[in-house]
Every structure is written in structure tokens, then in C-alpha cells.
């Protein structure tokens, strides 16, 4: 397992994929956090006393998770595209170990995305949001850490999905359409249902779960503990969200589920 992790790390570091996806995420982070006020317009700010940076940072980290997911998909599905998977499986015929190594290394890359994006975001926010208060270090660290975990989980989930699909374009289109459109539609459908149980399901969709985890703490800080939860509902488009750790758990379960599917599908696939 250690060997496969090392091999996976060497593969990652020998192509430009990781920074090819990091660059746009960083650029987005700069734009969003410099003009943070626009993205946090929903929050009434009386006289620049609110640490709005926390809100724009959370929004940025939510988007970063999409890049992390794309990274994971390309990391594993790309092996099928370039037919390197033959060599990979020749050297590591226990395919579930190969998949686990790829998920692990992708998670590290995803966490790295979260860290870099948060760091750049804070710097951009300091430059651009001089009018508003600076968030507490504790809250900043908490949002960053949760954002890193969410990106790590999405990258691992993406890597597992890449194994399931075995097709780079299909995997990428699938994950983007789902995250940027599909889950919005499903959430809207569920939210409009009469049954409260159905409405509550919105919090258990993977994309929403990641957003809830990221928005939970900033929402409480910005809107207070009472209406914080309502703010999360508005921002993530969900009903009755769990706390951040519950949402992380939900996303982790999704990651494990896709991982298990990849295990089954991947080990049965004929590599011709």
C-alpha cells in the first residue's frame, strides 16, 4: 500500500493537472474575496462591523470543492484515457489498493487546494474588504479546515467516480452537470414536496452536505446562533441542515459509497 501511494504521488507530481485546476480556483478566490461584499450582499451589514470575509471565503471554498472533484475524476479516469491503467494494474493487480491509493493522494491534493485557496482568499480579502471587520482567527481556521476536508472528500469521491465511469469526458461532464445543475434541480424538487421528510433529504445530497459544512460556522458568526441555521438553509438551498460535523459525515458516507462502487465495478472490469 505504501508503494502504491508513493507511485501515485509520483504520477501526480509529473503532470500539470494539479496546478492546471488549482490556478482557476485561485483566480476565482481572488476575485470573490476582493469583491466579497457582492457575494455576501444577502447579509445586512450595519456599519462594517461584520467579518464579511468569512462569508466570501466560505463561498470560495464551496467552489473549490468542485475543482477538487474534477481533479479526482481526471486523476483516475485519465488512466483509462491514456491507457496507463494497463501498466498500473500490471504493477498493482489488487485493484482496490490502487483505487484507495489514488483516493488518498487525491484527498491530499484536494486538501491542498482548500488550503491554498483559503490563504489567497484571506490575503485578497484583507486587500479588498478593508471596510469590514477582520474575522477571528479561530473562525478563519475553522472555516479553512472544514473547507479543506470538504475538498479532500470531494477529490477522493471524484477519484472513485473516475474508476466507476472509466471515461474521462463522461466522468467530468457527469460531475459538473450534477454539481452545478442536477443537485439544484433535485433540491428544488425535494423542497417543493409537501412531506417534510422529503424536504429534509436535501441536506443529505453530497453537494449540499459539503456546502452546509462550510457555511455552518460563518453563518453563525455573521447572523448569530439563532438565524444562522436559516441562513445556511438559504445559502445551501436545503431544509433543516445538520451541524457542520454532521454534514461532513454525510459527505464522507457518500465518498465511501462511491468508493465501494468503484471497488466492485473496477475489479470486474476487463482492461482490453
Amino acid at each position: 500500500m505504501g508503494r502504491l501511494l508513493r507511485a501515485e504521488l509520483r504520477k501526480v507530481s509529473s503532470t500539470k493537472l494539479w496546478w492546471g485546476l488549482l490556478v482557476p480556483a485561485v483566480v476565482l478566490s481572488i476575485i470573490i474575496n476582493v469583491f466579497g461584499g457582492l457575494f455576501t450582499a444577502a447579509i445586512p451589514d450595519d456599519g462594517g462591523r461584520l467579518p464579511l470575509l468569512l462569508g466570501s471565503l466560505a463561498y470560495t471554498l464551496g467552489l473549490t470543492a468542485v475543482f477538487a472533484a474534477c481533479y479526482g475524476v481526471v486523476a483516475t479516469a485519465g488512466e483509462f484515457r491514456h491507457r496507463t491503467v494497463t501498466t498500473t494494474y500490471l504493477l498493482g493487480p489488487r485493484r482496490w489498493q490502487v483505487q484507495l491509493a489514488a483516493m488518498g493522494v487525491s484527498a491530499v491534493v484536494g486538501a491542498g487546494y482548500g488550503a491554498v485557496v483559503a490563504l489567497v482568499g484571506v490575503l485578497a480579502g484583507v486587500a479588498g474588504q478593508a471596510g469590514s471587520a477582520f474575522p477571528s482567527v479561530g473562525a478563519l481556521v475553522a472555516v479553512t479546515a472544514i473547507g479543506m476536508v470538504v475538498s479532500a472528500l470531494w477529490a477522493a469521491l471524484g477519484a472513485a467516480l473516475g474508476v466507476v465511469v472509466g471515461n474521462q469526458v463522461g466522468g467530468l461532464v457527469g460531475v459538473l452537470v450534477y454539481l452545478l445543475l442536477g443537485e439544484l434541480l433535485i433540491s428544488a424538487l425535494l423542497n417543493s414536496a409537501a412531506s417534510v421528510t422529503l424536504q429534509r433529504l436535501t441536506s443529505y445530497l453530497p453537494g449540499n452536505a459539503g456546502d452546509i459544512a462550510i457555511y455552518d460556522i460563518p453563518a453563525r458568526v455573521l447572523a448569530g446562533p439563532q438565524i444562522g441555521s436559516r441562513l445556511v438553509e438559504t445559502l445551501a438551498g436545503v431544509t433543516a441542515p445538520p451541524p457542520w460535523w454532521g454534514a461532513l459525515l454525510v459527505l464522507a458516507v457518500w465518498t465511501a459509497a462511491v468508493g465501494a462502487t468503484g471497488w466492485v465495478v473496477g475489479s470486474r472490469r476487463d482492461v482490453t
Binding site: E8, K11, H82, R83, T86, T87, L90, P93
Partner: protein, 304 residues
Amino acid sequence: MNDRSGRVTVQGLSKRFGAVVAVDGVTFSVEPGVVTGFLGPNGSGKTTTLRMIVGLITPTTGDARVNGVPFAELSDPARVVGAVLEAQGFHPARTARRHLLACAAAIGVPDAAVDHVLGTVGLTADADRGVGGYSLGMRQRLALAVALLGDPQVLILDEPGNGLDPEGIAWLRAFLRAFAAQGRSVLVSSHLLGEVEQTVDHLVVISKGRCMFQGPLAQLRGSRRARVLVRCAAPARLADALARTGVLEIDTLPDGRLGVAGTDPVHVGDVALAAGVAIYGLAEEKIDLEQLFFQLTAGPWRAG
């Protein structure tokens, strides 16, 4: 578990892709110390069989073992089997050296092994170029370098001559012979007998997924005796005369000539003169292995 013999055994191996039966009950073994040629025309199931041996394709029935165990159960698979397979790819932006370094990490060999195999296949000067710019032959060499990285006991090569220049092919032949001479096993596929004739000791011939011949190359040669082809005025009389001298393997060819086995042109000429039969043409038939191979495999291009 792993018996360390370097033997590959294939037992009743079959693979069906939907309606296509790619491999149909193939049984053979690859022994250490010799080069085994795996021959068959296009689409006969060579690649499918080789991929089943290394666990990339799951057989429909039957099994394949290396050192007595399925490939995927070997604790150090890449140190036992090195394989160069068809359609084995590389990331175009990754350099050969970095590709090999990732492989070395997966196998668990020191990085110094990378320089060694690069030298062996003659890619040292091009090692730091992206593989996307490699020629077909250079990719083939790189694939071989990966296969050699674990210093394996068994080499499995699927049409390794593809893309190699004549110098590269000559080098590969010598390399495979030397590899086998060290007591290791080589299984090399080809669709041309001529390509491997000088390299292999043992042959496995398949056609349409079935095994048509398995044995030493010498046995295949011996299975068909050299004949003398005679065009003469009275074939029946000549055949009689030859039979009286103990030459009994005589066929009449479709064009009216006699095919006489187990003798030479001098004897046939002498007998014909003694019997008073006029000879119009006398020729020695070459044992054409390629022709034999065609007959064994009856490839898809054969009319009728």
C-alpha cells in the same frame, strides 16, 4: 503458494465478449529456460489470452497461473512477470524517466533501477522528453523498460516487434535468447512465424481462439517431410517403379505432378531412367514453415 518455478500454465482458458468467443478452451504451458512463441493470425485471441494471464481480463472459464498461483495473488507481481502488451499507454506529458520512477515506486525497486533499464533499452538520451513526442518504436522500448524494471522471472510480450527498426528487432531477438538462457521464461506473441522463427524454441499456435499446435519448433518442421515434385510422361508407371525401390509416400498433385516424399531428386531421376519414363520437370519442395502455419491457422483471408 508461489513455487518460484517461472512456469506459466494456462488451463482450458476461454473468454467470451458478448457474442464473440475470443478464446475457446486454450491449454498450454510456458517453461523456464526456453522462448515460447505464441502465434496466430489477427483476431485469433493472442492479446486476450495474454491479458488473461496477467489478470487484466477475467476469463469466462478456465484459469491461468504463474508460478502456480493466479497473477493477482502473487505478492510481488512485477518481480515475477514483466509484460509488454498491445495498446499499453503513457501519459503524453510525462517524461519516460518520470513514468519509470512512478513504476519503480509501485514495484518497490530503488530509483537506480530506472537508469539501468533506460540504458538496457537504449533510451537514456531521450529519457527526459515527454512520451507524447516518442515514435512507435521508442514507446515499445519504454514499455519493455517498464517490464524489465522488476527484474522479472517471466517476460510476456505481445507483438514486441511492432515499430522496432531492424536493428531493434535483432537486438530484441538476442535479448530474449539471453534472457531465456538464464533459466527464465519468455512468452512472445506474433502473427508472423518468420518473425519469431529464429528466436523461439517452443511454439503455441492458435486460430479462432483454439489451440492448433503446441510443441517444439523442430517438431513442427518434422511434421512435414520434404518432397520431390516430378512432372513426367507416365505418372502411374513411375509411381510403380518407385514403390518397387521402397519409396511409398507418393501423392498425385492436382496439377498432375507426383509428390514423392522420403527420397531425393537423384534417386527419382535414376528410377525414371531405368523405367523409361520421360521426365519433364524435377523440383525439390521447400519446407515452408509459413505455408505450414497458414494451413494450421486457416486465417480469415483464406478464400474458400
